[in-house]
């Protein structure tokens, strides 16, 4: 089990990663109706899931997926860079200290209060990861109706451009500024929880130890 404090790493079980992709299919394709392909009819995996993609994952003792979030540096391919540059005044972010958050996925099989707790742990872990790696901003693309959720996490958030209509509805690009007030803002919003989660890269493409 990877902890953020001492940085001891170990393999996140393949079973947990597989369960993550299964829950992503359940949430994004089945529940939210996103127009995405499902690998073998079971897994939601896209071109941004690769050996360099970082995931923060919460799993239980049986390696069932509870929640996860995907992080990608914007100086490499991202969802926002690849598909949603038009939502950003001045073009999509593209630098090593701005990372994209995507696929925040909470298992539909756990109760609402536990989902909220897992969400808080994942958001907190993302911010702590950013702090440890001199990441100054997050960015994300989100549906217009989800923007209130992102704002409710307490962090400093601003749109990168005016939201626009997409075949799937109104979408917008947001940027989140990370600084030494972020933890306090998120705590005030009831979203700060330093209970550790696991950090993983999907090594099914190339085997090796996690950093």
């Amino acid at each position: 089990m990877l902890t953020m404090e001492n940085g001891v790493s170990s393999r996140v079980p393949d079973a947990l990663l597989a369960d993550m992709y299964r829950d992503r299919k359940r949430v994004f394709i089945d529940l939210l109706g996103w127009d995405l392909p499902a690998l073998e009819g079971q897994y939601e995996i896209d071109q941004f899931d690769g050996p360099d993609t970082l995931y923060l994952i919460a799993g239980d003792e049986a390696d069932s997926h509870l929640g996860s979030i995907r992080l990608l540096p914007t100086n490499k391919p991202t969802v926002i860079g690849g598909y949603f540059g038009h939502l950003c005044d001045g073009g999509p972010p593209a630098c090593a200290n701005i990372w994209e958050l995507s696929r925040l996925c909470l298992s539909p099989r756990i109760p609402a209060s536990q989902r909220r707790q897992i969400r808080n742990r994942l958001l907190t872990a993302s911010v702590l990861f950013a702090r440890a790696n001199r990441i100054t901003h997050f960015c994300c693309v989100t549906h217009g109706w989800y923007i209130p959720e992102v704002l409710s996490y307490g962090w400093q958030c601003r749109p990168l451009g005016v939201p626009q209509i997409d075949p799937s509805g109104m979408v917008g690009a947001l940027e989140i500024r990370l600084d030494d007030t972020t933890a306090a803002l998120m705590a005030a919003a009831g979203c700060w929880d330093e209970t550790p989660v696991q950090r993983a890269w999907d090594m099914s493409v190339s085997r090796g130890d996690l950093q």
């Binding site: 609402a112 989902r115 209130p148 704002l151 209509i165 109104m170 917008g172 005030a188 009831g190």
Partner: protein, 250 residues
């Protein structure tokens, strides 16, 4: 379409809004900036007896606000009803395509026109586990709803709503902690929330009816409520239950 300097300034300034007066001032200004005259930012609650943490910031005419509350128009206001069917903002002229208007609802719309609300744009706002809400912009003139206005209105609405949420949370003083429920209390509550009686719950869980009654009464005591239905509403609000769980069980 680049964001205007005014919008950029508004976005920056939102974090500094810390009281209702400041929120009203910014809403007033951005309402005009968007080309409207009136605004209503509110949680969809009983406006006659709004709960403690609910939001309610409107500059509608006093006489109209009084009528809304006195006649309980908020119960089936057509704009609020339509907002339940939409994820993002919509123009008021779309409402007859979104819901089938009852006679009372047509009457409400007609009366609203007498108070300067001929046309408008409403943005639904939902944060998980909280009351549904909307931010509406109204005008006494027909509004030209370009993509530009829709996108800007969405941003103004959600940023102002977040500022309002923050103010409402601060006003609470210290957060009342969410009452802790045991797993067994929760097990009973989830089934109760789908409409089952104590006897039915006892059969499902394989315990005595007395045990079920005790669990539910204990939970009610922790929430300091005297009615089972109130307990379920509060548990939904606090995230113990989700609509999906309750509906799945029916």
């Amino acid at each position: 379409m680049q964001m205007s300097p005014r919008m950029l300034a508004f976005m920056e300034g939102c974090a500094a809004i810390n009281d209702e007066a400041a929120l009203r001032a910014i809403l007033q200004e951005m309402t005009r900036e968007l080309g409207f005259k009136q605004y209503a930012l509110l949680h969809h609650v009983d406006l006659a007896r709004p709960p403690a943490h609910s939001i309610n910031v409107m500059n509608y005419e006093e006489a109209w606000l009084e009528r809304i509350v006195r006649n309980r128009y908020f119960h089936d206001d057509p704009i609020l009803a339509a907002s339940n069917r939409r994820l993002t903002g919509f123009g008021w002229r779309e409402v007859p395509d979104i819901i089938r208007l009852s006679r009372r609802q047509r009457k409400i719309l007609q009366e609203a026109r007498l108070h300067g609300l001929l046309d408008g744009f409403t943005v639904p706002v939902q944060v998980a586990g909280e009351y549904r809400g909307t931010c509406s912009f109204g005008s006494d003139q027909p509004v030209d709803l370009t993509h530009h206005v829709a996108g800007y209105a969405q941003l103004v609405a959600v940023f102002c709503f977040e500022a309002a949420r923050r103010i409402a949370q601060q006003q609470e003083g210290t957060h009342a902690p969410i009452p802790q429920l045991t797993q067994r209390q929760l097990d009973c509550l989830v089934i109760a929330g789908s409409g089952k009686t104590n006897w039915e719950i006892s059969r499902i869980l394989g315990v005595s009816e007395d045990t079920v009654r005790k669990h539910i009464m204990d939970a009610m005591r922790r929430y300091d409520v005297s009615k089972r239905t109130l307990l379920i509403v509060r548990a939904l609000f606090d995230g113990y239950l989700s609509y999906r769980e309750l509906l799945r069980r029916q």
